[in-house]
Structures are given as structure tokens and as C-alpha cells.
């Protein structure tokens, strides 16, 4: 009867090495994706923020200098990408904490909450800038908004390229939220 003790209580709980191993792998992947997202959003913010094109000729009626400042939407884009980049740098600390302690649950829910908020901010900035970039390329004859890309060629290329990093950041954020959810459900 005394020796039947462990048999009664069932198997001694293992350290659940396969599950904690997968969780650790998920946390490491989360850290790497955050690093990539930092570079993507930083690149977008810098690419949009350093736009400055001046055309070499002049007439009385049309402006000949284009900067991101001239469009409030692009200012919002630069600000949103900078805020998201700063948040990602700060959340690296929480990500490292999750690598060391793979069984943490409360902090993972907090991380999901903050990641969702930043996803919304980044997507709002990227989509607003995309709408204005589309308008700059194609114009809209029904409301008499003319496309400006035919004159400001390099400005247009820059602002279109800055969108790529931002949309890449959006995909990475969706993956980050999914990874945190997977790590939560596998404890």
C-alpha cells in the first residue's frame, strides 16, 4: 500500500518537455519576427519622411515642390510607423521574457492586446496613405482631382515604395498575434 502511493496519485507530472519546447520555439520565432517588423516599419517611416522633390521649371499657377508634409495623410503615416517601431523595440523586452519563461499566460494576453492595438494603428496609416497614393497615380476625373505623378515622378515612386514596408509590417503583426495565441493554447 505504501509503495502503491505514486501509482495512486498517477504519474508524476513530467516537465512536459515537448510542449514547453514548442512554446520556446514559438517565442523565439516571435522575437525574430519582431526584429524584422522593426526594420520594415523603420524603413517605411524613413522612406516617406525624406521625400523632397523640386521640379526644375516654374510657372505662375502650379506648385513645384512636393514633400510628405504637404499631405496630412502622409504625416499621419510617418507618425504611425514611428510609433509602431518604438512600440516594437519596447516589446522586445516582453518577448525575451516569454522566451525565458514559456509558461507565462497573463503577459501573453497583454501582449496580444497591445499587438492588436498597434496592428489597427499601422493598418489605418498604411491604408490612408495607400488611398492618397492611388489618387496621386490615377487621379479622379469625376471629382476633378488630377493625378500628380506625371510631374512628380520620383516623389511618387518614393511614396509607393514606402507602403511596401508598412504592409509587410501588417502581415508580420498578424503572424505575431497568431503565434501568441498558439503559445497560449498549448500550455
Amino acid at each position: 500500500m505504501m509503495k502503491a502511493g505514486p501509482l495512486e496519485l498517477g504519474d508524476a507530472p513530467k516537465s512536459s518537455t515537448p510542449k514547453s519546447g514548442v512554446n520556446r520555439g514559438v517565442s523565439i520565432l516571435d522575437f525574430i519576427l519582431r526584429l524584422i517588423a522593426i526594420m520594415a516599419t523603420l524603413g517605411s517611416a524613413i522612406a516617406m519622411g525624406t521625400t523632397n522633390e523640386t521640379l526644375p521649371f516654374f510657372t505662375q499657377f502650379i506648385r513645384f515642390r512636393a514633400r510628405y508634409n504637404d499631405f496630412p495623410t502622409f504625416t499621419f503615416f510617418v507618425v504611425a510607423n514611428s510609433v509602431v517601431c518604438a512600440y516594437l523595440v519596447l516589446s522586445l523586452a516582453l518577448s525575451i521574457f516569454h522566451i525565458m519563461r514559456s509558461a507565462a499566460q497573463g503577459t501573453r494576453v497583454v501582449l496580444i492586446l497591445l499587438d492588436t492595438a498597434m496592428l489597427a494603428l499601422l493598418t489605418a496609416g498604411a491604408s490612408a496613405a495607400a488611398a492618397i497614393v492611388y489618387l496621386a497615380h490615377k487621379g479622379n476625373t469625376r471629382v476633378n482631382w488630377f493625378s500628380i505623378c506625371q510631374q512628380f515622378n520620383s516623389f511618387c515612386e518614393r511614396i509607393s515604395g514606402a507602403l511596401i514596408g508598412s504592409f509587410g509590417g501588417i502581415m508580420l503583426f498578424i503572424l505575431l498575434i497568431l503565434l501568441s495565441a498558439v503559445a497560449l493554447s498549448r500550455r
Partner: protein, 213 residues
């Protein structure tokens, strides 16, 4: 001798069964304690998870109303001004601006998704500890956050342009002529932002429901 052996065997069996009887009694009491504790724990955690799941379902209903309102409001914009000149268009509808077309389509997709995700939400109420429905919901809710925010953000950029214009690009504000159109469109954008906030809350609810203790 046969009797003694059988008696011995029977006694041995009886003693073995007694030993088995005592040990299982202890084991069953242990098990009974542990299972009642586990059931209490499950009921408690099932309790708050069930409450979160019910709130999730109610929020999905609210998001469905807001998404349908946004789609319908944007889809029925059509204003024709009563005068005409040679140079300007005098009809404005959501069709004229591709961003607003994308808005209508995206909000329609969000409404359809919300209807389809109601059964999974109900499963989450009935079985608070099932992981499958919650993982599915959190995946698609995250994608829907991105889609709805994209629609809302791009429509906001165009609405802002319609209200204020842009002097550097020579884009004139059209809201001073198309007043009704502008108001309807702004209302639709506000409804879509409500949908965005609700989706974000739904993601956090699914995350809370995924926790295990």
C-alpha cells in the same frame, strides 16, 4: 488437502482482494478529492469563460449591426445637384471613388464573416474549454481587424480630402457642393470605426478564453 489449498487460495484471494480493497479505497478517496477539486476548478473557470463567451456573442451582434449600417449607408449615397455648368460633375455617388467601392466591399465581407462566426461563438458558450473554435475565431478576427481598419482608414483619408482639399496638389474640397453626400459618407466611416474597436475587443476575449490553468 484440496480444501486447504482452496481455502488457502481463497484466503489468499480474499487477502489480496482485501488488500486491493483497501488500496482502491484510499485511491478512490484520493481520486474523489482530486476529481472534485478538478471539477470545482473547471466549473469556476468554466464560469468566467462562459461569461466572456456570452459577452463575445453579444458584441458580435452589435458589430454586425454596425457593419451592415456602414455598408448600407455608403452603398446608398447618391446626390445630384440641381444646377449645371460646363466644367464640373454634378453627381456624386460611392461608385465614383474606388476607395469607397473598396469600403463597401470590405464592410460587406465583414458583415458576412460576422454572421458565419456566430455558430463558433455559440460553441464557445456551450463548451468553454474547447480550444479549436477559439483558435479559429482569433485567427479570423485578427485578419478582420486588418481588413476593416484598412477600409476605414482609406475612406477617412478620402473624406478628409473631400472636406479640406489639398492646395499642393490642386485638389479642391467637394463637400461645399455635395453636402449630403459628405455627411452620409462621414457617418459610414464612423460606423466602420465602431466595428474596428469591437473586433479588437473580440480578439482579446478569444485570447482570454484560450488560457489554461
Amino acid at each position: 488437502m484440496a480444501d486447504s489449498t482452496t481455502i488457502d487460495v481463497a484466503q489468499g484471494e480474499i487477502s489480496r482482494s482485501e488488500a486491493k480493497g483497501k488500496a482502491p479505497l484510499l485511491a478512490t478517496t484520493h481520486q474523489v478529492f482530486s476529481t472534485t477539486k478538478a471539477m470545482e476548478r473547471e466549473d469556476n473557470k468554466g464560469g468566467y469563460k462562459r461569461g466572456v463567451a456570452i459577452f463575445d456573442f453579444i458584441l458580435r451582434l452589435c458589430a454586425l449591426t454596425a457593419a451592415l449600417a456602414a455598408t448600407a449607408t455608403m452603398g446608398t449615397t447618391d446626390q445630384t445637384l440641381p444646377f449645371f455648368t460646363q466644367f464640373f460633375q454634378f453627381q456624386a455617388s460611392y461608385d465614383d471613388i474606388p476607395t469607397f467601392q473598396f469600403f463597401v466591399i470590405a464592410m460587406a465581407i465583414a458583415s458576412g464573416y460576422l454572421v458565419l462566426s456566430m455558430p463558433f461563438s455559440v460553441v464557445g458558450i456551450v463548451r468553454p474549454h474547447a480550444v479549436g473554435p477559439k483558435m479559429l475565431l482569433i485567427t479570423f478576427d485578427t485578419v478582420m481587424v486588418a481588413l476593416t481598419t484598412a477600409a476605414a482608414g482609406s475612406a477617412t483619408a478620402i473624406v478628409y480630402l473631400a472636406h479640406s482639399g489639398n492646395s499642393s496638389a490642386n485638389w479642391l474640397a467637394i463637400c461645399q457642393q455635395f453636402n449630403d453626400f459628405c455627411q452620409k459618407v462621414s457617418g459610414a466611416v464612423v460606423a466602420s470605426f465602431i466595428v474596428v474597436v469591437i473586433f479588437m475587443i473580440l480578439v482579446v476575449f478569444s485570447a482570454i478564453g484560450l488560457r489554461k490553468h
